[in-house]
Symmetry: C2
Subunit: 137 residues, 2 copies
Amino acid sequence: MLSIGELSKRTGVKIPTIRYYEQMGLIDAPERSSGNQRRYSRQGFERLSFIRHGRELGLTIEDIRELVTLSCHPEKPCGDAHHIAARHLASVQARIAKLKRLEKELKRISILSDSGHVGECNVIRSLSDHSHCETEH
Amino acid sequence: MLSIGELSKRTGVKIPTIRYYEQMGLIDAPERSSGNQRRYSRQGFERLSFIRHGRELGLTIEDIRELVTLSCHPEKPCGDAHHIAARHLASVQARIAKLKRLEKELKRISILSDSGHVGECNVIRSLSDHSHCETEH
DNA sequence: CTTGACCCTATAGCTACTAGAGAGATTATA
DNA sequence: TATAATCTCTCTAGTAGCTATAGGGTCAAG
């Protein structure tokens, strides 16, 4: 049986976050010690690891709740789970594309000398400048 | 002079967001019509565009506030502005790297058949499985 | 048995918005 | 000029996903 602090160390999820997940119903309320402290079993550890992976992959709490529910009903078809992953894959790819554009822009912005004054500064000029926009506005 | 609605259309920033920026002190409170409605000048439009660009690049409100302050003091050296851009470039690159790892993982997860049941589902198994982790925990 | 590290609940705060209520202003049309 | 449609106003509260704080109780080593 793990205390919340040990569970936190082993999963890398912060203590208040673990309690938050419990409150949100993502993890079951664990057993308590005689002094009312949380004591986690191996299952508790695994559930939290599952959630942590999901969050690292950028799934929302809601997505994870769906997956948790599915995993409690192994007789259901798993199309839903694939659907969640696929939906997320698309959004990850979109985010990568967008960030790459931003990277290019930031490089363009900060490439020049650091020695000037704000009056002729590229960072500020670039942010005021629409000529490089890829979205129109 | 633009109404808040027109300003919103031209910059792509939603009306409540414009008022929020004003409240946060990112943009100056504009003139008002006789009936107390906001009326924006060309400068107001430019300032908001500047902010919008910054947000699109993922700068925080605080970063932008610093840049706005800098841009009001053109006699200062612009190292600070470059520093903000450079710091952000680093974090964008880190995010790209992380998302690419996630993309790979999601592809691995959702590549297989959709026909199974949760019991043998890859999505859920993968999220419980640490063997592909690149970060240790 | 005391000390220090840990844990408890409850509440408030964070970022960057977004939504809604209820009232007033502006503008287009009849 | 009257009226209807469309803005716009302020204020409050809600969103996600935590994080921090206050004021207390618990656990394990020496």
